[in-house]
C-alpha cells in the first residue's frame, strides 16, 4: 500500500514490428492477469460470498445449516458482543495514535538526521520482523511482569495509580490489563507506521526546509507548515496499515490481556474454532469487515489521498 505519486510513464508505443498486426498482443494483458485474478476471485472474493450466506443461515452442526435469511444473527451478534467491538475500535485507535507519536520522530530521524547511519537504523527497524512476532509478543510478558523493573518504576512514580484510576490498569499489575494489550498492539504494528512515514518524508526536498528557514520560520513552524503537510500521504497510509490489522487482532489480547480485554477478533476466533457457531461468527466477521471498509473509505475521502494502491 505504498503511495505512488509519480504518474505512470506513457505506454510504450507498438513496437515497429516484423510481425505487423498485433492481434495476439491484444490478449496478452488478460493472459497475464488470468491466473492471479482467478486465485483472488476463488480464494478471496468467493469466500466473502460464502461468509455472507453463512451469516444468514440457521441450523446446528449435527443437522447442517440452511439459508433461512435469518438476519437476526446480525442483531444478536451486535447486542451480545458490542463491548468487544467497541474495545477493538478504541484499542486500535489508541494504538494507532501511539504509533504515530512514537513512529514519527524515528521516521524523521532516519529521513533527515541519520546521515551515514541511515541504513543501519533502517535495518534495526526491519530486523525484529525476522523473529516470529508471537515470540516477541511473549517477551512482553517478561518485560511487564508483576515484579519486573517496569512495574516497579511505574509504581514508584505513581503512574500506576493514575492509570488504575483511569481504568487502564488494575492495582499493581500491568499484565492482563488494557494497557498491556495496547502496548503490545503499538509494538507489533509500529513498523507499519514507520515505513510509509519514512517513504513520504524521504521524498521531501531538503531545500524546502532551507527556504522556510530563510523566510523566518522557526523550526517548529517549518515542521507544522511544510514538513508535516508534505508527509500526509505517509501519515494516511501508516494509520490505515496500523489501524486495520490492530482492529482485527486477537493475539495481543489473548497473550497479554485477560477476559476483560477481549476484542472482536477473539470472539470470532472462539466462535469459529471452539464454539463452532458459524452463523454468529460469520455475522461478526462481516460486521467487522463492513465497519472497517466504511471507516477506510471515509478516512481516505477526508484526507484526500485516493492514490493509495
Amino acid at each position: 500500500m505504498t503511495t505512488l505519486t509519480e504518474a505512470p510513464p506513457p505506454l510504450a508505443p507498438a513496437a515497429p514490428g516484423r510481425r505487423p498486426p498485433r492481434r495476439r498482443g491484444r490478449l496478452v494483458p488478460y493472459w497475464l492477469l488470468l491466473p492471479g485474478i482467478l486465485w483472488l476471485l476463488l480464494f478471496f472474493a468467493l469466500p466473502m460470498v460464502y461468509q455472507a450466506s453463512t451469516s444468514v443461515q440457521t441450523g446446528s452442526l449435527e443437522q447442517g445449516y440452511k439459508v433461512t435469511w435469518h438476519f437476526a444473527a446480525y442483531g444478536d451478534a451486535l447486542s451480545a458482543y458490542w463491548p468487544q467491538f467497541l474495545r477493538s475500535v478504541v484499542y486500535a485507535a489508541v494504538a494507532t495514535l501511539l504509533c504515530l507519536l512514537l513512529g514519527y520522530p524515528l521516521a524523521y530521524l532516519i529521513a533527515f538526521r541519520a546521515g551515514r547511519w541511515r541504513n543501519l537504523v533502517m535495518i534495526m527497524v526491519i530486523a525484529p520482523f525476522f523473529t516470529t512476532f508471537l515470540i516477541r509478543t511473549l517477551a512482553w510478558k517478561t518485560i511487564l511482569a508483576d515484579d519486573g523493573p517496569v512495574v516497579h518504576t511505574l509504581t514508584s512514580l505513581h503512574v500506576l495509580d493514575l492509570t488504575d484510576w483511569l481504568g487502564w490498569t488494575a492495582g499493581d499489575r500491568v499484565l492482563a490489563t488494557p494497557l498491556a494489550v495496547v502496548c503490545g498492539l503499538t509494538y507489533n504494528f509500529l513498523p507499519f507506521m514507520i515505513l510509509p512515514l519514512y517513504t513520504s518524508l524521504e521524498r521531501i526536498d531538503g531545500r524546502l526546509h532551507e527556504a522556510a528557514g530563510d523566510l523566518y520560520a522557526k523550526p517548529f513552524t517549518t515542521f507544522r507548515k511544510v514538513t508535516f503537510p508534505l508527509s500526509m500521504p505517509g501519515v494516511v497510509s501508516g494509520t490505515l496499515l496500523t489501524f486495520i490489522p490492530a482492529a482485527g487482532d486477537y493475539v495481543n489480547a489473548e497473550l497479554l490481556g485477560s477476559t476483560d480485554t477481549r476484542m472482536v477478533g477473539n470472539v470470532i476466533q472462539a466462535q469459529f474454532l471452539r464454539v463452532l457457531d458459524y452463523p454468529t461468527a460469520a455475522a461478526l466477521s462481516f460486521i467487522l469487515m463492513a465497519a472497517i471498509l466504511l471507516m477506510v473509505t471515509f478516512y481516505i475521502r477526508k484526507s484526500g489521498t485516493e492514490d493509495l494502491v
Partner: protein, 272 residues
C-alpha cells in the same frame, strides 16, 4: 543554556532513539532468555545462565518439524505469489485493458482487510467444499494474501522503468523475448526480489490465517501459540534469536557486497 539549545535541536533524535529502543527491547529479552534455565514450564522469569537450549535446539518434540514445515510453505508461497503477482504487475503497468478499476480493487482489498475476516471467510469456503485442512489449504491461503503485496512491490519498480530502454533494445534488433529477458527482467529484478522477500516474511510469520485454515497441521507460529498455553521451551527463544542474527548478517553482507561493487565501479570510472 547551551545544553538547553542542544536538547532543543536534538529532541527529535532522542525521541527517535527511544522508539528504536522500544522496538528492539523484546528482541534483547528474547536473546537473553535463550540462555535461561527456567524452573517451571514457562520461560518468563530469569533463573540462571545456561547454554543447554543452544546445544540442543531441536530437543523439544515437534518444534523443528513445525519449523521445517513453515519454511517449506514459505518457499512455495513465495514462488507462487511472486510469479502470479509479477504477471499482474506487468499487465497493470504495461497494458490497457477493460475492468482495470475492478482489478485494482481486487488487489487492494486483501491488504485493507483484517486478517481474521479473510481467515474466517476462507475457512467457511473450505468447510463448504469439504476440503481437508492441512498443507494445501495453508498454501492456498498464503499465496492469496501475499499476492497483493508482491503486485505493489513489483508495480512500483516497473512504473519507474524508462520505456525507452526497451525501445532501444528493439531498435537494436532484439526480439520481444530477448528484450524481455535481457532488458526488462534485469531492470525489474530488484522489485521482484523485494516482493519475494516480503512474501517469504509474511508467509513464514503468519499466524492468524494459518490458525484458521491449518486443521491439525502445526506451523512454527502455531507451535509458539500452543506453547504459550502449555509451557514455553527455551528452544523457542533460540530459534527466534538465530533467525534474527542470520537475517541481520545476511543484510549486512549484501550491503557490504553492494558497497564494494559501487566502489569498484567508481574506481573503474576514475581509472579510465
Amino acid at each position: 543554556m547551551a545544553f538547553v539549545n542542544w536538547l532543543k535541536r536534538n529532541l527529535v533524535v532522542l525521541a527517535g532513539l527511544l522508539t528504536l529502543g522500544y522496538l528492539l527491547l523484546p528482541n534483547v529479552v528474547v536473546t537473553v532468555f535463550s540462555f535461561n534455565a527456567p524452573k517451571g514450564r514457562f520461560n518468563y522469569e530469569w533463573q540462571r545462565f545456561s547454554t543447554n537450549a543452544w546445544k540442543d535446539p531441536c530437543g523439544v518434540s515437534g518444534m523443528c518439524g513445525s519449523l521445517s514445515l513453515s519454511l517449506q510453505i514459505a518457499v512455495w508461497a513465495t514462488i507462487g505469489a511472486t510469479t502470479l503477482g509479477t504477471m499482474i504487475a506487468f499487465a497493470l503497468v504495461r497494458y490497457r485493458f477493460r475492468a482495470r478499476g475492478a482489478v485494482n480493487a481486487l488487489i487492494f482489498l486483501p491488504m485493507a482487510m483484517p486478517e481474521v475476516v479473510m481467515a474466517a471467510s476462507l475457512l467457511t469456503l473450505f468447510l463448504n467444499m469439504g476440503a481437508r485442512l492441512g498443507f494445501w489449504t495453508i498454501l492456498i491461503a498464503h499465496i492469496m494474501f501475499c499476492l497483493s503485496f508482491v503486485v505493489t512491490a513489483v508495480k512500483a519498480r516497473v512504473m519507474s522503468m524508462d520505456p525507452r530502454l526497451e525501445q532501444a533494445a528493439q531498435d537494436l534488433y532484439a526480439g520481444p523475448a530477448q528484450t524481455f529477458l535481457r532488458v526488462t527482467l534485469p531492470i525489474a529484478a530488484p522489485g521482484i526480489a523485494a516482493g519475494a522477500l516480503l512474501a517469504f516474511a509474511l508467509s513464514f510469520d503468519d499466524f492468524i490465517i494459518t490458525n484458521f485454515n491449518a486443521g491439525s497441521t502445526v506451523t512454527f507460529p502455531m507451535f509458539v501459540w500452543g506453547s504459550a498455553q502449555r509451557g514455553t521451551p527455551v528452544q523457542i527463544n533460540v530459534i527466534g534469536t538465530a533467525m534474527f542474527v542470520v537475517a541481520v548478517l545476511l543484510v549486512l553482507a549484501s550491503m557490504a557486497v553492494g558497497n564494494r561493487r559501487t566502489k569498484q565501479k567508481a574506481q573503474a570510472l576514475v581509472g579510465s
